[in-house]
Every structure is written in C-alpha cells, then in structure tokens.
C-alpha cells in the first residue's frame, strides 16, 4: 500500500472517484440489461404468456443475446435525416439517465469512502437540472428524423416532459423544507430511526407527514411521465404517430433509446428511494447508521439496490394496470391538477412548519 499512501490527497480522490464511477456504471448497465429481462418476464406472466426463457435457465442470458442482436442488425440511416443530430440523439437520451446517479448516495460508506460519486450540497438541484436534459434527446431525435411523425412525436413528448418537470420540482419542495437540506446524503441521514416510539413505521419521508406523502404521490406520477412509462408513454404512440420520435432509428441506436428509458427509470427509482424511502437505511439492527465494516457497507448498498428493485417492479407492474392517457388528459393532469396540488402542498408544509416553530 506504499504507492497508495505516497499519492497526494487529490490523486487519491481521483482514484477513488474513478473506481466508484466504474462500479456504479457497471452496476447501472447491468441493471438496465436485467430490468429489460425482468420486464419481459413480468409482463409475460401478467399477460398469461411465458416470456423469454430459451437463453440459459429462466432466460438469464437473454440480455446478452439482445445486445448482440442489436449490434448485428443493419444500422440503416435514411437519406433524408439530419446526420449530426441523428447521431447525437440516442446518446442525448442515454447520458442524463447515467449522469443522474452521480449524486445518489447508494450506500453509507466502505472504509473512509462515502458511497456516493459526488456528494454535492446542491444534489437535488443537480438532478433536476440533468433530468430535464433528457428531453433534448427526444426532441433531437424527432427533429433529426426530418419527417412528420417523428417530429410530432418529439414535440409532443417534449411538451409532456417539460410539463411534468415542473410538477416534479414542486412536489419535492416540501421534503426539502422538512429536511432543510439539498444534500442527498444528509437527506438520507434525516430519515433514520423510527417515526415515533408508539408507531412501528420507519422514519422515512413518505411517513413523516401527509404533505410529504402527497409529495411522494405527485413525484411518482411525474416520474412515470418523465420516464415515458405507461400510463404516460405518449412518445411511443404507435397508433397515432407510427411510433413517434424513434421511427427512423434502427439497430443499436434504436436500442439506446430504450436503454436510456430504463436508465432513467432506475435513476427515478433511486431518487424516490433516496428522497422518500430512506435511501440505504433500514430501521432494524442499527442499519440506519453509517457502516463500520466493509460487510455492512456492502449490505447497505444491497439494501439500496433492493429498494430500487421494488420500485422497478412497481414501474413494470403499473404498465398493465392502467390504460394509456389521452394527450389532453395528460396535459390536464399535469398542469391543472399536479401543479396546483404541488403549490398547495408547499403552502401546507410551510404553514405546518411555521405553526410547529411557533408552538
């Protein structure tokens, strides 16, 4: 370990960050691949089908087969597309989903290292800033395709994403008011322990007050809209737009749009876990305190991943529970229900905090 101790603090930081980035990236890509498999198997079960089960036991090699297939398919580019944007769009969809997880505390600590890539004090603002960039990918894809239906699809989904961005931003504010912090690590720390001595509920944000519970519901609905999942998956309107923004894409570029969607789903789930469900903490056995040993640190990461997985199943399950919203219903719900509700929620939270401070 001599070589390591000889490094300067800055070099050590860079090294640890690189390791964390690689680790998080690997886990995230693995999850993207296997969430696809999970989705296919779960959907199949709900629809009385069997789902992919040929590649390996229970189809566990299916994601690999899918990836190989996507790369080997013909990468067809129509002559009429705007080339530069056409190439950029899939990446522009993929990148925000990957970058969002940088501020998520996915575990307590291993050794002296905090299990978060960038422990920003403005973590949540960073997230919202990045998440809203995801819309560029879709708009670019629609624009680059240089034909009617993809363009309409791109415009439409950008309108949807921008609308729900606002509802999402407003919904989180009560949580931030209650915690008094924007740093996600400290937000997690504010959710440790039990709710009350007489109430067997963990001290997670959803349970802390009716306002935060409502905030969670709005955030959840907005997350569905942001990640283009049913019942708000209007960008993929096959019936109306022959597929929407991704009509002109094929092979791995087409796959990237969906990998981006899944990465966004994972990022949104991670956000919900961090903001409302106590992050890597569990109230039992002192699991809500920063880990002292490596084993505990890994256990915390696993707890976090398990919570994210629960949300992923929920995301997939809801897909078959509700029919797709009509476009005007979607906008109506976003602007005329969630935005006023979010504002009222902030007001209620403010009044309650004011009353509590005075009492």
């Amino acid at each position: 370990m001599d070589w390591f101790n000889n490094l300067t603090a800055g070099q050590q930081f860079a090294l640890f960050s690189a390791v964390k980035i690689l680790g998080v990236f690997a886990v995230l890509m693995f999850m993207v691949a296997y969430v696809v498999l999970l989705e296919r198997r779960l959907c199949a079960a709900i629809q009385d089908r069997v789902g992919p089960n040929r590649a390996g036991p229970g189809g566990i090699w299916q994601p690999i087969a899918d990836a190989v297939k996507s790369f080997l398919k013909e990468d067809f580019m129509p002559a009429h597309v705007r080339r530069v944007w056409y190439w950029l769009a899939p990446a522009a969809v993929m990148i925000p989903g990957l970058v969002t997880v940088a501020v998520i505390p996915f575990g307590s600590q291993i050794g002296q290292q905090k299990m978060v890539i960038a422990d920003l004090n403005v973590g949540i603002l960073y997230t919202f800033g990045i998440v809203s960039l995801g819309v560029y990918g879709i708009v670019l894809a629609g624009y680059a395709a240089n034909s009617k239906y993809p363009f309409l699809g791109g415009i439409r989904s950008s309108a949807q994403m921008i609308s729900y961005e606002i509802a999402m931003g407003l919904s989180v504010i009560p949580v931030l008011m209650l915690a008094g912090d924007l740093n996600l690590s400290r937000l997690v720390a504010a959710q440790t322990g039990w709710l009350a001595s007489w109430l067997p509920l963990p001290n997670w944000m959803v349970f802390q007050s009716p306002m935060t519970a409502l905030a969670f519901l709005i955030f959840l609905a907005a997350a569905f809209a942001e990640t283009n999942r049913l019942p708000f998956d209007l960008p993929e309107a096959e019936q109306e737009l022959a597929g929407g923004y991704n009509v002109e894409y094929s092979s791995i570029k087409f796959a990237l749009f969906f990998m981006g969607e899944y990465a966004n789903m994972i990022a949104a789930s991670a956000m919900m876990v961090t903001l409302f469900f106590g992050g890597w903490t569990l109230p039992w056995f002192g699991l809500d305190q920063p880990a002292q040993t490596v084993g505990m640190g890994i256990l915390h990461i696993l707890i976090f991943l398990a919570k994210v997985a629960v949300f992923m199943v929920f995301f997939i399950w809801v897909r078959w529970m509700l029919p797709r919203f009509r476009y005007d219903q979607l906008m109506d719900l976003g602007w005329r229900r969630f935005v006023p509700l979010g504002l009222a929620n902030i007001l209620a939270m403010a009044l309650w905090l004011w009353w509590r401070a005075g009492a």
């Binding site: 199949a44 709900i46 009385d48 089908r49 399950w317 529970m321 509700l322």
Partner: protein
C-alpha cells in the same frame, strides 16, 4: 353518432378505484401464470413448443406417411395415382421390375422406392384421397425439420417407420390370399 361523454365523479378522477381494479386483474393473471403454471399456451392447449406440445385436433392434415397392414407388409402397390395427383409433385415412386419379391407374399407390386419431398408437400391430402389401397395417410406430425434439403426427402423406409401399422378392418391381402387358396382347392379351369 354523438357519444355522450359522461363527467367523471371526483372519486373516479382520483384514479384510485381504477388503480385497485387494475391491480386485482393483473395480480390474478400473474399468480395464475407464475405459480399455478396456467399460461395461455397450456390453457388453450395451443402449445408451448417443445415443453407443452400443441394438441393436434382430429382431422388435422399433417405429413403424409406410408402405412403397413397388420402383417407388416407395405400396403402400397405402386399404382402411382398419388404421384400423378400430387399438385406440387412431391411424390416419386419407383415401381418394381418384373421380378417378384418373395418376402412380400402375394402382394402384387410393392414399390422399390417411394419418396416424398417434404419441402414440396403442401399437405393437401390428395394422395390420401386418391389411394385405392389406403396405404398413405396424412398423419398428425406437424414438426418436420432437418439439417439439409436432402434430409427432407423422406424415403420409403422412413415413411413406413413413421407411418406404422394401419389397423384397418378390410384386410384386403388376407382375403385375396384366402381367395387364392380356394381357387387352389376348387379350380374350374383345371382338368382332372
């Protein structure tokens, strides 16, 4: 036509009842499929190849195979009617020469070779209809596959093995044999 758009009640606009109803439906199907193995392929016997084979219905026209009679003889007499009637010309029969195969008993013209090109066969069933000897039948076999085109040309040996014995009540050759025996006993042509 004017479709009346009913105003949703407050309760309905919360989407919670819809949520609950949707969950009930999806949960039922999920449990049935995952834990009770009651997926559509099994329930409708529509098949889930190859674990749950498709239940072939009565009267299905699958691959045409040759059958033997109860005594293990080829029923085909190489009359070549099926070869003639076959629309895609999938059947090729090589009739025997003048020499008689002693192992086939009194059966007149056992084919030397009988080939069906399963790549050409359209499973129309004309061969079965036209056959005067009831020697060829469209069976229930719907899964025909091979590694090469040559492998898909089924020869007589293969067709007979796949066809098996046909338990028909007519037993034409047995009766012919009895008739022949009778003629041995009582022959009006024979001058004593």
């Amino acid at each position: 036509m004017i479709v009346p758009r009913k105003k949703l009640t407050f309760w309905e606009r919360l989407f919670l009842p819809a949520f609950w109803a949707g969950f009930k439906v999806t949960w039922r199907h999920f449990v049935n499929t995952l834990f009770r193995r009651r997926n559509a392929a099994v329930v409708t016997a529509g098949g889930y190849y190859p674990e749950v084979p498709w239940t072939v219905k009565e009267g299905y026209r699958g691959a045409p195979y040759l059958v033997k009679d109860q005594e293990g003889r080829t029923k085909c007499v190489s009359c070549q009617l099926c070869e003639f009637v076959c629309p895609p010309k999938a059947i090729k029969i090589t009739p025997p020469g003048p020499e008689v195969d002693p192992t086939t008993g009194n059966v007149e013209k056992r084919p030397k070779e009988f080939e069906i090109n399963m790549l050409r066969c359209i499973f129309c069933g004309f061969c079965q209809e036209v056959c005067p000897e009831e020697a060829i039948f469209l069976m229930k076999d719907y899964s025909l596959n091979g590694q090469s085109r040559e492998e898909m040309i089924y020869n007589m040996e293969k067709l007979l093995a796949l066809g098996g014995v046909h338990q028909d009540p007519i037993m034409k050759w047995k009766k012919k044999a009895l008739e022949a025996q009778k003629q041995e006993v009582f022959n009006p042509e024979r001058k004593e």
